[in-house]
Amino acid sequence: MRVRSRAAFAVSLLAGHYLLAAGLAAGLLAAQTFVLITHPSAGLLLTALVLPALFALAKGMAFLERRGNHEAPGTLVAPDEQPALWDLVRRLAADVGTRPPDELRIVGAVHAGISEDSRFLGLRVTRRVMFIGAPLLTSLTEKQLIAVLAHELAHHSPADTRLTATVVSGRAAVLRTGSPVDDMSWFQRTTVRLFRGCARLYLRVSHPIARRQEAAADCFAASLAGSSATSSALRELPVIDAAWQLFTQRHLTVAWELGYLPTTFLDGFARLRTSPDLHEALEEIRGQETDPDRGPFDAHPPLADRIAAVDALDLDAESGWGDRPALDLLADPMPLLDDAVLTTLVPEAATMHRVDWSTLAHIGARARVVHDTERLLNAAATAMDQPPSLTTVLDALDAGRLADLGSGTPGNPAAGPRAHREMAKGEVLPELSALVALAFSDAGLARWELDWLGRTTFVTSSRDFDMTGHLDAAVSGSTDGLRGALATSGVAADYRPAR
């Protein structure tokens, strides 16, 4: 099918949703009127059925229409706040031949895109919002950013055929409408389910158009930013994505459960990006050209094909674009980007405690260690019928209760007490070690540090912290050495970690 006729068919499918509903309503009304005139009493009865049916139809259409009008995420930037970025976007829109967005929003995600508030499943666009991910702004060069933004704007360019832009808006609206929402009523779920049948047909019919659009958008990007900046941006996106995931999972939210966030966000991400520890891992991702999982209806061709196609165009950049960092386009960027990340997180984030990166890492690591010692403390408390504390654990060991401090059982049902003790030793030793480390840390003698790869190390100021010998002796029958070392360091005997 040629693109124009396919686009026309796709658009007619969109319109079909409405025509179908309208036709159904008109038919019902006509039948109702006919029956009312010929058999007034039966007609009245029928009204009781037809009116709810019409109501349900109307409500269903209204529901499909309303979804998608929700508060946009991210931080809104006004043209007078960030003139350079706005100028760039406007100039790109003009080059691509589409209207510039009505809003620019910075979001805390590896993402760039345009979202439209549309009526009638994308058949009419009311408001256009462009989203730019904060990590892209800190990681890309100006030219690479241009390639990314030009690609997104090109999706809404009417240069190819007027209908294809509508098709793209329609795909976005259809995907959004068909996606499940948590708090849907039975009626809403049914409406969405009925809608999905039509939606799948629409997405299939429009897929080749969307794929062609991706290629065209890459071509636009290359013609503005040049082939080399465009393909390097395509290569860079999976790298930024991997780094951002590591950053958000291992660093930004390392003490999230305890209600802590770092004071500043993007400076940490910048340090992570340039950390020598990570260099090798990120280089590997850069070489792989891996495709992100964008769901079954995604129309992007494979990344390697896109890069090859862009390189084959061998286009030079339009003059005037520089190789400076994209960040230079922003006035006072860091507060803006941090705010974008914060507004992208759930609302509770705004009320969390804010601490510097090293404190955050320590708090996060300490919480994990506390968690790792709970089992041992409780087992000792149960065995000795005493409050859960370091002393109780050591008393239990001295009382020969090692086997009772473990939770595992040997594989041989006929195994003796020695096997139970040996298994308990393997479990208790690391937990006791963690408990002692906690005691030193809470006494101000040590702390945990986190490198940018997400590895935790225990750092102590006292030179003779090596407890290995004392810990081994403690689980092998003598806690004297460990008790002595704790007393010398000034750790309270009844130490018990606070949460």
């Binding site: 939770s407 595992g408 594989g411 041989n412 003796g416 040996e422």
Partner: protein, 369 residues
């Protein structure tokens, strides 16, 4: 369950079990194995064929080594001295030393306080080190158990590997103290199997063992286990090892049968080399009794192989020689050794009576396993 309707005998057995379970107030799969056995085992009147009645069959072996039995009792009573002396006196009689050291090590793996009394009274006793090292091997296997790895917990594996590493260290000390003793090298083979070392590394340890005792009985059994598919080898490698050992000495005539048993495959039993090995073993056993654990093990494998080959009358003959004793191999490889023994014996008797000569049971998969 529905398919049982077409098998009236099995259905009746299940109904009997259901009634028994109800009487005992448990679920059918919680019934003790002995109870299940009495309801589902073939009823064959074993005594009519010169066999020991089912109820008298036991997994407890008769006392074979009086001195060993005595020192084990001593140790249980808290006296280690005679045990220490016995270990010391076995130097040179390597097969017996292996039995004595293993039996004491199994005790020490349950509770080791007595070994520390021994160490305190005779510091530096090299024989203590041998028993200690072996007790670590035994302890490691107690922690792991014999379940397949999918049913072994992380903690059990961690303990297994940790204690095996300790055992290796202790065995190295024993080697340095008693350079002529093959016993620590048998331990090294067991450790190597547990830690799944590569073939060439295992080969080095094997050479050390056979240099000290070329025909070490337990050493050969341990090595065969290593060459099995479930550890670091394959069905082919295990059979190759078993055949080579059998060619080396008649005392290893059962080893090819061990390999076939471990393969779990009926086809393996029908290989010409295995059939020949069964014949050789049966012929060798003709002039032997069943007084030792080793002989009973050989007869057990012979009986198992003969059933696999459909030679039921000969199998019944082996069971007749075994009498009441279901100790040792291959029964100990089953979760319920006694029931495995009775099941196979019952099948052999029934088939022998019906005269189903020449028909293999192989098509129905491995018996009882």
């Amino acid at each position: 369950m529905l398919s049982l309707l077409f098998k009236p005998k099995e259905l009746l057995a299940v109904l009997r079990l259901l009634r028994e379970a109800k009487r005992l107030g448990v679920e059918i799969d919680e019934l003790p194995p002995d109870v299940v056995a009495t309801h589902v085992l073939p009823r064959t009147h074993p005594e009519r064929y010169g066999l020991t009645p089912d109820a008298e069959v036991t997994t407890t072996p008769p006392i074979e080594d009086l001195a060993l039995a005595a020192v084990l009792d001593d140790v249980r009573a808290g006296n280690w001295e005679n045990a220490a002396d016995l270990v010391t006196s076995t130097a040179g009689d390597w097969d017996r030393r292996q039995r004595v050291v293993s039996a004491l090590a199994d005790l020490a793996a349950k509770e080791d306080a007595w070994t520390y009394s021994w160490l305190a009274a005779r510091p530096g006793d090299p024989h203590w080190v041998v028993v200690h090292a072996m007790s670590l091997v035994s302890l490691a296997w107690d922690i792991r158990g014999s379940a397949p790895s999918s049913q072994t917990t992380r903690a059990q594996f961690d303990g297994f590997h940790r204690v095996l590493a300790d055992a290796r260290e202790a065995a190295e000390v024993a080697v340095s103290l008693l350079p002529d003793d093959p016993t620590p090298w048998v331990m090294q083979l067991m450790v190597a199997r547990g830690l799944q070392v590569p073939h060439d590394e295992f080969g080095v340890l094997w050479e050390e063992l056979v240099a000290r005792d070329p025909l070490h009985h337990n050493g050969h059994l341990q090595a065969l286990q290593y060459w099995c598919r479930k550890w670091q080898g394959s069905d082919e490698l295990a059979l190759e090892f078993g055949l080579a050992a059998a060619a080396k000495s008649p005392r290893f005539a059962a080893l090819p049968l061990h390999a076939a048993f471990e393969s779990g495959s009926p086809e393996m039993w029908r290989r010409a080399a295995v059939v020949r090995a069964v014949d050789v073993l049966v012929a060798r056993l003709e002039d032997e009794g069943a007084d030792t654990g080793v002989l009973r093990g050989d007869r057990g494998y012979a009986a198992f192989g003969l059933v696999q080959l459909g030679r039921y009358e000969e199998a019944v003959g082996q069971f007749r020689a075994l009498g009441a004793f279901a100790d040792g191999g291959p029964w100990e490889m089953f979760e319920e050794p006694r029931i495995a023994f009775l099941t196979l014996r019952g099948m052999a008797v029934r088939a022998a009576v019906k005269g189903k000569r020449g028909r293999s049971w192989g098509g129905r998969g491995q018996v009882g396993g």
